[in-house]
């Protein structure tokens, strides 16, 4: 039998049973973990007599299910279609024509890595969106399958690129551990801090009943009032606490970055780039240039000092899997960014170029919203009976913060056109730059509220196959001008948006 033919229906690698089993166990644990503490409150006999046998039976049942899943999961390739049959009781047949296939990506979580197999994800786009994953086949087979699935695609690309031969798969850059460290130190730690906060508060709500009577918000407030002098006296403690929080935030950012971007490697292919990264779950993603809708470059003052930025690439994809289509490359140096940009957007003569700024009304609106926010915070604090001094302290702090952030936001907002390309600047402390070509536009919206109408401003929303780009509060005439320019290109361009 030809191993790379795929003309006959075949099953996954038998190791797939392990993957199915672990997925099932994970699902069961995820839905019933709340019950786990109950087991510990019961007597020992009960656990030995009922719980342990129950768990063994459950384990065996899950094993049988995973074997059945494996047996009934078959796939093949037949005249230009990828065909997949699955389902034990409810049969499901999926058939995907090659030209609908967007991407074929590889993924390996920790179990895949241990038993040395690969998960293949087939992403599609079209009126009826389907997403298919083969949980377990060997790496060689995965590569062979990928090659087969993208056969027709490659031929087309070869024809197009005959004049400019590009060497196949050249490594553009690799992220070393030190650079990974730099990336994580310069992350936005406020996010990590909020993550800690969210985890703690969700835990609090889940175990609220246990906590009731021990700790409660009114009690905390009372405790604060009773011990205010002591608390305020211990500035040292406060300092230590904040250092601790910052350290924890950095640590969390670090863990997050390492988990996702460990061993990040970007290679240049014929028609796109290949990105592999991840510690426990390794991902291999192919970004095809023609499927890229727009890119977002994010940096902040610290990152700029280190000369790095992150690039988020937005690809066209089915609505249901939108999150996966936003792929992030971190620690991108300036020269690498230049290479990437020249790869993604073919340089053209920059004949026409103009820059638009949002109307001053935008700044006014930002301040108005901040004002409402501060008002709400003050009302809440008033009713929560905080001391006047504390309230004043928080309010002054917030005013200073919003003053700086709003002015930064207004300064950093711009809309630049360069030939047939749109560059949108945004951001407060961070600087966010979105680059998009006009012809990727799916539809355009001009939105104007009655207040905006009075001020003679309007917002433009550009819909792409991968999300919306918003340009808020432009002068009406400029908004219309921009809209006409982009529309002209979107209507008349013979370039395919996908």
């Amino acid at each position: 039998m030809n191993r790379t033919d795929f003309s006959e229906l075949e099953r996954q690698n038998p190791k797939g049973i392990v993957i199915n089993y672990s997925l099932l166990v994970y699902k069961v644990l995820k839905s019933f973990w709340v019950l786990i503490p109950i087991f510990f409150t019961k007597s020992k006999e009960l656990i030995i007599d009922y719980v342990v046998p129950g768990l063994i039976v459950l384990g065996i049942v899950l094993l049988i299910i995973s074997i059945l899943q494996f047996l009934f999961f078959k796939f093949k390739i037949e005249n230009g279609h990828f065909i997949l049959n699955q389902g034990v009781f409810f049969k499901k047949k999926t058939s995907i024509p090659f030209d609908r296939i967007q991407n074929v990506n590889f993924k390996q979580n920790i179990i895949h890595q241990i038993i040395n197999i690969t998960q293949v994800e087939i992403q599609t786009a079209g009126a009826k969106d389907v997403e298919v994953s083969i949980k377990a086949i060997s790496r060689e087979k995965a590569e062979a399958l990928k090659a087969r699935l993208q056969e027709s695609d490659h031929q087309v690309v070869k024809d197009e690129n005959q004049e400019i031969p590009v060497p196949k798969s050249k490594v553009l850059f690799k992220l070393s551990f030190l650079e990974l460290l730099k990336v994580s130190v310069s992350e936005n730690h406020i996010k990590s801090f909020l993550a800690i906060f969210a985890i703690i508060s969700s835990l609090y709500w889940q175990f609220k009943d246990y906590f009731e009577g021990y700790v409660s918000f009114p009690k905390l407030v009372r405790f604060y009032h009773e011990n205010e002098m002591v608390i305020r006296g211990s500035i040292k403690l406060m300092f230590l606490m904040s250092v601790l929080v910052i350290l924890i935030s950095i640590l969390i950012s670090f863990v997050k970055v390492v988990l996702k971007h460990f061993d990040q490697k970007v290679s240049v292919l014929n028609d796109g780039i290949q990105l592999s990264q991840g510690l426990f779950t390794k991902r291999d993603d192919v970004l095809k240039i023609k499927k890229i809708q727009y890119i977002v470059v994010v940096t902040n003052p610290l990152k700029r000092q280190l000369g790095i930025q992150s690039v988020k690439v937005n690809q066209a994809g089915s609505a249901r899997t939108k999150a996966k289509k936003r792929i992030e490359i971190v620690g991108v140096k300036n020269e690498v960014l230049k290479t990437l940009r020249s790869l993604f957007f073919k340089e053209e003569n920059q004949a026409k170029s103009a820059t638009y700024k949002p109307a001053p009304y935008y700044l006014f609106k930002l301040f108005l919203f901040s004002f409402y926010g501060i008002l709400i915070v003050n009302v809440v604090m008033f009713f929560a009976a905080f001391t006047f001094k504390f309230q004043l302290f928080v309010t002054v702090g917030l005013i200073c913060y919003t003053l700086v952030i709003n002015i930064l936001k207004y300064k950093k907002a711009y809309f630049h056109i360069e030939d047939k390309r749109l560059i949108v600047g945004a951001g407060g402390i961070a600087t966010i730059t979105t680059v998009m070509e006009f012809y990727k536009t799916q539809n355009i919206k001009l939105v104007q509220s009655f207040i905006q109408k009075r001020r003679g401003v309007a917002s433009v929303h550009l819909q792409t196959a991968s999300g919306t780009i918003k340009m808020p509060n432009l002068h009406k005439e400029e908004a219309q001008e921009l809209m006409t320019l982009i529309l002209e290109e979107a209507c008349n361009s013979n370039k395919d948006w996908i």
Binding site: A319, T464, S493, N494, W497
Partner: protein, 158 residues
């Protein structure tokens, strides 16, 4: 481009349809209020509460019916050589323009009420976020069919 003179209004019949829809909604609201009133009459709820809710319901019903005219007048469409534009909205006005070349598929729907008035709803889908595409109600069935055929022909020509 995009000045209001080039825009076509919707069918006048559609205004009647909007009124009927809004009247039906009002009816449901009023019935709900009556049921609420009858089931809670014996309980110790002060008359002020009923009066307040009743006035609120009345306000919504009248406002809803009066605003129909405004919303109807604001809805306009315009067919260009390479794109379709649609305007709507009272407090916040939206102008959506969809290039023909980006249209994935077109649907024409007729509800029971619409069929009575010989009207149809034209839905246009692009690859953008679902729900944010174009939906034009209040065209005659023939007109919507005409637009559909025009766009389909354009896409095929490309």
């Amino acid at each position: 481009m995009f000045t209001s003179t080039e825009f076509n209004p919707l069918e006048k019949k559609y205004y009647r349809l909007m009124l009927i829809r809004r009247a039906l909604f009002s009816l449901v609201l009023i019935v709900a209020f009556c049921v609420f009133f009858l089931t809670n009459r014996d309980k110790e709820v002060s008359g002020v509460v009923f009066l307040g809710i009743g006035l609120g319901v009345l306000l919504i019903v009248i406002g809803n019916l009066l605003l129909a005219k405004v919303f109807f007048k604001r809805k306009m469409y315009s067919l260009h050589d390479t794109n379709l534009a649609y305007k709507k909205g009272w407090l916040v006005s939206h102008l959506t323009v969809v290039p023909f070349s980006r249209i994935q598929h077109i649907e024409i729907d007729e509800g029971p009420l619409e069929r009575f008035f010989n009207l149809a709803t034209l839905s246009i889908y692009t690859a953008g976020d679902s729900g944010k595409d174009l939906k034009i109600s209040g065209l005659t069935k023939e007109k919507s069919q005409e637009i559909k055929e025009l766009i389909t022909a354009y896409i095929k020509d490309e």
